[in-house]
């Protein structure tokens, strides 16, 4: 399952390859923004390494590290300004992101008004930020309207087909084959496909049809990749060991991106999304990582194409379920 040798990769090209990184980072930054009365700060999410780099990459100001934010209000405001700038620069696509950000914007507006009233010195700064906030707010509303207006089902189908075309065209072959499944499902999760699934009730006929289609497409392509690599053998008993080696030998930036995307803050993620958590541990931990051993209790040692897809889809079922709108 070793990846083909990729050309040198930059953060920009990585963001291009995996558009879901932007989406997840927006949600994570929004989740990390705490608005309490007249106090605004970014709490430190668990998996900040890659996120911080993204943050610096976008804001271009490495001194605005969140641990310094609490020094004084103006720093907080500058940091907030950075967040709004980040939101502006990176268009939000998923309804999950829009809802989270809209709620946060509302809370932030209330906090800013409190700050404005109690700290005369920063009134002007706050007004500027409030202006920027309104712009983002409008943008969010427009996006929200777009999602409501357009045929969500058609968009979902379009994305499904586009993502699988990329896989089929070997654009993901820089990764071991199990990671290809993950990246495909993850991109769908953060895109139009995910929007559609999150919007519908479970067992909705159209949702079921789309999920079945996803299963079939994933299985067909994965079986093809499997066959290319393993030949006729339909069982792999050493995949954990081989995958770990492959991941460890990946370019660090790819590994970091993978660790970032597979990171889940949910409690019991190890049981609810064992495969994703296992990949996360493989990418983020050391070889003797005890959590990796703990994770291996919940993932199969014997893998068949069918079961690999089954595991990933069940993980995403849990993920959709826990972020149902």
């Amino acid at each position: 399952m070793s990846p083909t040798q990729p050309k040198a990769i930059t953060l920009d090209s990585l963001l291009e390859e995996h558009p879901q990184i932007r989406e997840k980072s927006l949600v994570d930054l929004t989740n990390g923004l705490e608005v309490i009365d007249d106090h605004i700060e970014f709490s430190n999410p668990d998996n900040t390494g890659f996120l911080s780099r993204l943050w610096r990459h976008v804001t271009g100001e490495s001194d605005r590290r969140q641990h310094a934010i609490n020094q004084h209000i103006s720093t907080s405001l500058k940091s907030l300004e950075g967040w709004l700038l980040y939101l502006e620069k990176n268009s939000i696509k998923s309804n999950m992101g829009i809802i989270k950000i809209s709620n946060k914007l509302l809370e932030t507006r209330q906090a800013l008004l409190l700050i404005k009233n109690s700290h005369d010195k920063v009134k002007q700064d706050v007004d500027i930020i409030l202006g920027r906030l309104s712009e983002v707010d409008v943008k969010c509303k427009q996006l929200d309207d777009r999602i409501d207006r357009v045929d969500a089902g058609r968009l979902a189908e379009q994305q499904l087909s586009a993502v699988f075309d990329r896989w089929k065209a070997r654009r993901l072959h820089a990764y071991p084959m199990l990671l290809r499944v993950f990246f495909v499902l993850d991109e769908l999760y953060w895109g139009d496909f995910g929007n559609y699934i999150r919007h519908h009730k479970p067992n909705h006929a159209e949702e079921k049809r789309l999920l079945n289609q996803l299963h079939d497409k994933a299985l067909i392509q994965f079986e093809q990749d499997w066959k290319d690599f393993h030949g006729e053998s339909s069982v792999n008993i050493s995949w954990q060991h081989v995958l770990l080696q492959d991941i460890q030998s990946m370019e660090p930036i790819r590994r970091e991106a993978m660790a970032y995307l597979t990171h889940e803050n949910q409690t019991d993620a190890i049981k609810k999304m064992p495969m994703i958590t296992y990949l996360n541990q493989m990418a983020s931990g050391s070889l003797d990582n005890p959590k990796l051993v703990e994770c291996s209790r919940y993932v199969p040692r014997v893998l068949t194409p069918d079961n690999a897809i089954n595991h990933f889809l069940l993980d995403y079922e849990s993920r959709y379920e826990s972020n149902k709108i």
Partner: protein, 819 residues
Amino acid sequence: MNIENIEALAAETLRLIDVVTAELDQALNVPHFISEANPHENTINASEVRKWVDDLINENNKLTQLEIVVAVIGTMKSGKSTTINAIAGMDLLPNRETAMTTLPTLIRNKHGQAIPVLCLNKLEPLQNLYRAVAKAVKELDDSGYISDLNLHKKDGDTLLEMLLTSDQPHFKTEYIGQNEISEFLRHLNDLMRLAKDKRINFDVDSIYEAYGQSSEMPVIEVELDHLKGSREEAKGVISILDTPGPNEFGQSESLRRVFQSQLRKASAVFLIIDFTQMNTEADAAVRQQLESVKGFFSKDRLYVIVNKFDQANSRTMNSDQVKDFVMDHLLEPNLVDPNLIFPVSSFNAYLANRARHHMFTHDVLPSPQEEPWVRDFAKVAFGDGWEDDLDDLTPARLHKKIDSVWNKSQFENPLEMAVKAAHATAAEKSIDSAIQKLKECNREYLNTLNIYSNTLANDMDRIQTAMSSLRADIDHCVSVRNDVIKKTGTLISEIVRKLDMILKTRREDILKTIDYLFERGAVQQKSYNENLRNTLDSVTNENLRDLFSTLFSGGSYNRREKRVESKFQKMKIRISEANSGVMEFRDNENARRFVEETEEAIEELINEIDKEIEKGVNAKLCQSAEDIAGVVNENMRETLESAMKSLGDSGFEVVFHIQALAFDIDRVDFHSIYNKAINTKTCYETGRRHKKSLWGWLCSKVGTSDWGTETYQYQRTSYSIDLSEIKSSTLSYIDSLIQVFSNQSVDFINNHFQPQIDAKLDELGNYLQKYQGVIRNSLEIANLDQSEKSNLKQRLGEMIGQAKRHEGDISSVLSAISH
């Protein structure tokens, strides 16, 4: 499947057992889900779930504590006991010139058990054996025939004395130490041999049957020296199965079955062949013995140990030639893997391990005067002049020599390979059993989860519809039963009809034969001296050949027919002396000879035909077993599918499955079933001829203890034999035989198949009722408040996800097993 894969599958199975049992334990604590046990309710409740957990823990234990059995069989004098003693590093089994193992015995490796202990769980069958033999011996003693008994020259007198002086057996449940064990085994061996003597003729089959299962066999527990600290031990218990040789079981159908079944269960088989017998006159005998065990083991589990290879020299075969010889002359290339043929010296291995064992416990070797094996060891280790070398030996040098003798024995390789492979074979069996159990538990658990989840999502009307449809399916089980009874009834009558047909055809065959034979006697009205030559000329070999080719249609004119023919040839001469069906003899000796030869010829013919009938009946019964199971399974499948469909239509997602009915026909011993029926009517009397054969039964059935007593009369001047009497007795026997086979077959179907059919159909009804109970219990959650429902829904969703993951993982292991 290779060993690494099996180990990976075992690890995966253990992981699955671990997570599934943890999941089931947690499910018991989920509020409003699995109800507490109610003994009056047939449903999946807490007690059922706990039983699943217990079953899975049991599978876990079986998989972590594997019972690994390496069976050892040997041709005559090939050194089987020496091989086992070599593994044990002590004189565990007695060595004698004659075959020593009369009962299969397990030698189980037990850590820390320096002194061997033989445990005998069942005493009664051996006690009965002793009493019967003692009684018979006393009777023989009274009638003065005791000296004719076949006894071991050294221990025989002691045993006889014991039998004559005491009719109370002295068997114990435990024998401690090599001496006690050895004495017991010798005693048992001699007793069994005596029991088989035709003057005593005890039914030794009953002993083999009583000790046929590994749980009932004599077990010697001891630390097997060579396996001390073996890494495989951590995962299981290794036992060596000492089996009677092929020459032994050739004498008993029961022992053959026990032997075959034990070999099939064994994780590896060591077949010991004597190198020194290869390419000698003894070859044919060895080949014959090997012929009889062909098909008892699979190629990948058979390790051929060519023993006594230390006696090879420049004029004998080398290692490669030995392998070729085994492949081409002793076994067949498709029966043995050339990489699993090992020329070794068990004796050298024994000496090395014996010395190693002694050094381990005493740090010095005993003197050769005290223990003769030391002399043998020293000879092998140091060659001639060993006395000097032995005197100035340091322990370090001695250890080096021990290793050298061990290496020279070439015993390490097969032992290591066999133990490793045996472990994998044992693991494969346990994985299969555990994974089936996991599949079953997970399926029923997932069904229960789905039913609760569906109840939360469904409205009451749909739930009620589901309940009624399931009730209808349960009611339908009654008509399924009637249908199955009807169909199996038809099959039974078909079997009986076909049996009748087979038997009648055979009756016709035998009648023709008898008529042919006696006709010649009846038409010849001439005197003995004048007509003997004419009669011989008139019955040519060709005539007989035609007769046999009709009788054994489809078969070639082979050795068996030739043998029977020669009997007829003899008889023909005598029968041709007959006069109008009554034969007269001038003297007693001629009359007796004629009766004996006639009896022998007919007996042989009947036995041949009897075997053919039995074979035909067996084949028909096997086919019928499949047909009957097919009928039951088809009905069961239809019922389950209908229930699944109707529940599915009402919004309940379930997968119903009951293990298909399969009659374990391989384990059924038809031979013993028919013979038991015949033998129960036979009166056992010491010294009587043919008492165990069908022919013997015929004699008792037709009221004769032997033809001679009733049909020929001793007179002073002449002796006459009535042939019509012989014919009518024979026919009467054939008719009785038909009746026996027919009755036994129907009885067998009724007693063996019917209870299993009934149990399977009961299982079907109970299974559906159980799910009716689950749906009924799930209705209680309809009364929960919204927040409780929402919590339960979320929890059920998570548990369903887990169960589905397990389902996929179990399927992966199953596909790996079948891969």
